[in-house]
Symmetry: C2
Subunit: 202 residues, 2 copies
């Protein structure tokens, strides 16, 4: 993997490569199941190099998680930042599923269990937390109880991420199809579920 006659890389390049390789391996095996040795091997180097750059297994993991978290939050935030409410729901749902499709490794890491000392049971719970804060502002403006915002944020993140995981293992349906069903459920609820959800534009 990126092994052209055991080329020496600059510190910055090696660091970037290790982050990428690490993301792949952590996604495949989870934190506990990953051996630092394997990351090193796949990067075409030996173990101490990893320790040189990141201090240890958790150091590398932390960097990877942090980057991925920012990416997701940014993706969701920008999707719900403008438009009519219904459009925001559509956009956010589709954006999240697109993230799942285009960054399967990062999504796997966020979905899987975090190492026990990290404070959060699931990394996605923190995403829900951050989205909850955004919701609270909107709720206040719309006259709803902002205290209830976290419930809805967690609910929607849980819904979309769970379906995303399911879709990862069974891609028989198109991403737009899944997204339109999901946002129909979010917006109209089971009560007014359309027989055939309207296709989303884009």
């Amino acid at each position: 993997m990126t092994d052209r006659t055991r080329q020496r890389l600059s510190a910055a390049d090696r660091r970037a490569q290790l982050i990428e390789v690490g993301r792949t391996v952590f996604a495949e095996r989870g934190f506990d199941g990953t051996a630092v040795e394997e990351i090193a091997e796949r990067a075409g180097i030996s173990k101490p190099v990893v320790y040189e750059h990141f201090g240890g297994k958790e150091g590398l993991y932390a960097v990877i998680v942090d980057r991925e978290m920012e990416l997701v939050i940014e993706t969701i935030s920008s999707a719900i930042s403008e438009g009519l409410p219904r459009e925001r729901v559509d956009a956010a749902t589709l954006a999240f599923l697109v993230y799942v499709r285009d960054h399967p490794d990062g999504f796997a890491i966020l979905s899987h269990d975090a190492p026990s000392n990290s404070g959060y049971a699931s990394l996605l719970a923190e995403v829900g937390d951050r989205v909850g804060k955004i919701f609270a502002t909107e709720f206040k403006r719309a006259g709803y109880d902002p205290k209830a915002a976290p419930i809805y944020a967690q609910a929607l993140i849980g819904m979309v991420s769970f379906v995303g995981q399911w879709w990862t293992d069974d891609r028989s349906r198109s991403i737009e199809d899944v997204a339109s069903h999901l946002s129909a459920l979010c917006w109209m609820g089971l009560r007014h579920l359309p027989k055939k959800p309207t296709k989303l534009k884009k």
Copy 2:
């Protein structure tokens, strides 16, 4: 734990005790993080006894998971088995949250990652699978595309379980309160969200 002067137990009693102790430890530490030794220690016996009864770590885990899975499926199934559609949604939501409250260890096990060889990324995905089959039948009867049923089943399970996990760490709101918000979201959608969801009758 259940250690009254190192009492000898019958095979059946010891087995039952180990299942209970194992559930606690697996919930606390996850599958990988759990040492068979610790289960034995907490049960007041030595390691080989566990191997005697369950063949190994995975054997015990399998029994625990299987029992918990059946319990959840049964809980959900019976909650959605009768009543008006809206009532079914209410009942299922509340029932699931009550399960989360009353069986925190079992819920933790179902939520956490399964050992990689188990075929399912998350045990809850299998719950979603089973609920999806039930939904498909209902969908067909109501004139909806039964192919879409899995999406909705995964979505609802994901939503409720994710909120359940969140609620486990922050119990400042009553279970009925959370349930009523959730089922309002499921049923009416964000579009017709009531300012104050109606309290569910017990």
